[in-house]
């Protein structure tokens, strides 16, 4: 096998179809960037789930004097209410699910509120008695939030039971939808990349039809005839895949780590190491798809 011949043919083919090759590069680049972004989003969701689900708690908000009358007809929750809730959390029905719980009274809740909104002027207008006294319940398995919700919802003196996971699930379902959309766009673009590759290969084969005819006539093996075309498609897609890998790394480095991580300092974000894992996957995906499309295109051309 003459490698010189094969690569000479590849270089010639790439040069001859330059505009088509450039469009293959661009389409693979964009579609794989979308794939990469979707993967990043999924990894980010995973990261956030790990982090936040572990910390998610169920809040049992007790009635305050400011609570709406429909939920709290008796007004401020009495000391009896607190002891009965605490007793319920300790009894045999609930205690197997509860890892720990703690109680915040008005002043503690206010202190925490001030800390969380330190830079916000809202702290000036809120007073301690406006904030609910709260039992924070941490569960052994964060998925069991419904048990606490059911046990305390509608109990006299309880304004509302809130599972923090319900907020998180909303965020995650938005992120999930975004990554699904990215995958959808990516698959349409990947499909057009495949069609582009097969058109380019057919064109390339047509412009070399004399050589191909003679090669078949004198008995060059199919592998030898087809190889330059397959390499041509793969090289074009490989360039696009490398660009996509670079784009994903740039997104991680400059957008996620450079912007998001400073804007939202208490959240764990995907890092460069995760991005680096994606690069070879994108490259492999691009090369495999292109190789596959090229082989089918050239085989079909030669059969016809």
């Amino acid at each position: 096998m003459k490698l010189g011949y094969v690569f000479g043919e590849v270089a010639q083919g790439l040069k001859r179809n330059l505009s088509m090759v450039v469009s293959i590069v661009l389409v693979t680049f964009l579609s794989l960037t979308f794939v990469g972004t979707a993967a990043l989003l999924q990894l980010q969701i995973g990261e956030m789930k790990n982090y936040w689900y572990d910390r998610a708690q169920v809040a049992v908000y007790l009635c305050s004097s400011y609570s709406p009358a429909e939920a709290c007809p008796q007004g401020e929750a009495s000391a009896d209410v607190k002891t009965s809730i605490e007793a319920k959390l300790k009894d045999n029905t609930l205690s197997p699910y509860v890892e720990k719980y703690f109680f915040l009274d008005h002043n503690q809740a206010y202190a925490q509120f001030k800390q969380e909104f330190a830079s916000n002027t809202i702290t000036k207008y809120v007073t301690a008695d406006q904030l609910n006294e709260t039992f924070w319940v941490k569960l052994k398995n964060p998925a069991d939030g419904a048990i606490i919700t059911q046990s305390f919802s509608g109990v006299a003196g309880v304004e509302e039971v809130r599972d923090q996971r319900s907020y998180l699930d909303q965020i995650f379902s938005i992120l999930n939808a975004a990554s699904l959309a990215a995958v959808g766009i990516a698959s349409v673009m990947l499909f057009s990349a495949i069609l582009l590759i097969s058109t380019t290969i057919r064109q390339s084969a047509f412009s070399r039809r004399r050589e191909l005819g003679i090669m078949r006539l004198v008995g060059a093996s199919n592998f030898y005839i087809q190889l330059p075309f397959v390499i041509e498609g793969v090289v074009a897609a490989a360039i696009g895949s490398i660009l996509a890998g670079a784009a994903v790394l740039a997104i991680v480095q400059f957008f996620v780590q450079g912007y998001l991580a400073t804007a939202l300092p208490f959240t764990n974000f995907v890092g460069l190491s995760t991005g680096l894992v994606l690069v070879p996957i994108l490259f492999g995906l691009g090369v495999l798809l292109a190789g596959f499309a090229s082989i089918i295109a050239i085989k079909r051309y030669l059969r016809a």
Binding site: R210, G213, I214, G219, A220, S221, N222, Y224
Partner: protein, 232 residues
């Protein structure tokens, strides 16, 4: 060498078959002319022998290969034992004479050393010494057909198929090409040549197979075109 039995071929959309129950045996060393009007099936028969096409019916053996059942991946290796030339030469215009011949050795994986030896030798054999570096468009028709012949025989094939090799050449040049074919035949290569050229067939007095409407109407040895036609 070649054994064709009751081969028929009908192309899609054609009203009558291109080949109609054709049977023919060709022995090693034969020099066979296929004659007949355009559309009589000469080219189709040659295409079958090269396995460019597969019969609709019948059996065909060439060089010991069953061409009905040969797997696609073995076809290239089968073709390495066959040389073929055409009326339109089919040279690569962007390659020199030597490169055109070398190309067909390169693509079947011959070593550079073998190519460096075989190409000048075959060009000398066909009478093209000193023209190695010319491009096809700088050559006369006869010279171009010599390049094509050089390419067809450089790998020492057992069988040479020629589809109207003199169709584009004047009579004197045609005679030169036929003389070359005779020398190749004398060296032991089996030759099957489709032609319209009565003059050549009459002069050589070889085996003549006459095709008409896809059928063999006569097969005779040592006679000219007219005699073969009459023999039917």
């Amino acid at each position: 060498m070649i054994s064709i039995e009751k081969v028929s071929k009908t192309y899609k959309g054609a009203s009558r078959p291109a080949l109609d129950t054709v049977s023919i045996e060709i022995e090693k060393g034969d020099f066979v002319f296929l004659v007949g009007a355009s559309g009589s099936g000469k080219s189709s028969l040659l295409r079958m022998m090269l396995r460019e096409d597969v019969p609709s019916k019948g059996s065909i053996f060439v060089l010991g290969e069953n061409l009905i059942s040969i797997p696609a991946r073995r076809v290239p290796y089968f073709r390495r034992n066959i040389g073929m030339v055409f009326q339109d030469f089919r040279l690569l215009p962007n390659k020199t004479v030597a490169q055109n011949v070398a190309f067909c050795l390169e693509v079947i994986g011959k070593s550079p050393a073998f190519i460096a030896e075989a190409v000048p030798a075959v060009l000398k054999l066909v009478g093209l010494e000193g023209k190695q570096e010319r491009y096809p468009n700088e050559l006369s028709g006869g010279e171009q057909q010599r390049v094509a012949l050089a390419r067809a025989i450089v790998n020492k094939p057992q069988l040479l198929l020629a589809d109207e090799p003199t169709g584009n050449l004047d009579p004197a040049t045609s005679q030169d090409i036929v003389n070359l074919l005779e020398r190749i035949s004398a060296a032991g290569t089996t030759i099957v040549m489709a032609t319209h050229d009565r003059g050549i067939v009459d002069r050589l007095k070889r085996r003549v197979v006459v095709l008409k409407d896809g059928q063999i109407v006569s097969d005779s040895r040592g006679v000219g075109y007219e005699a073969a036609e009459v023999n039917r």
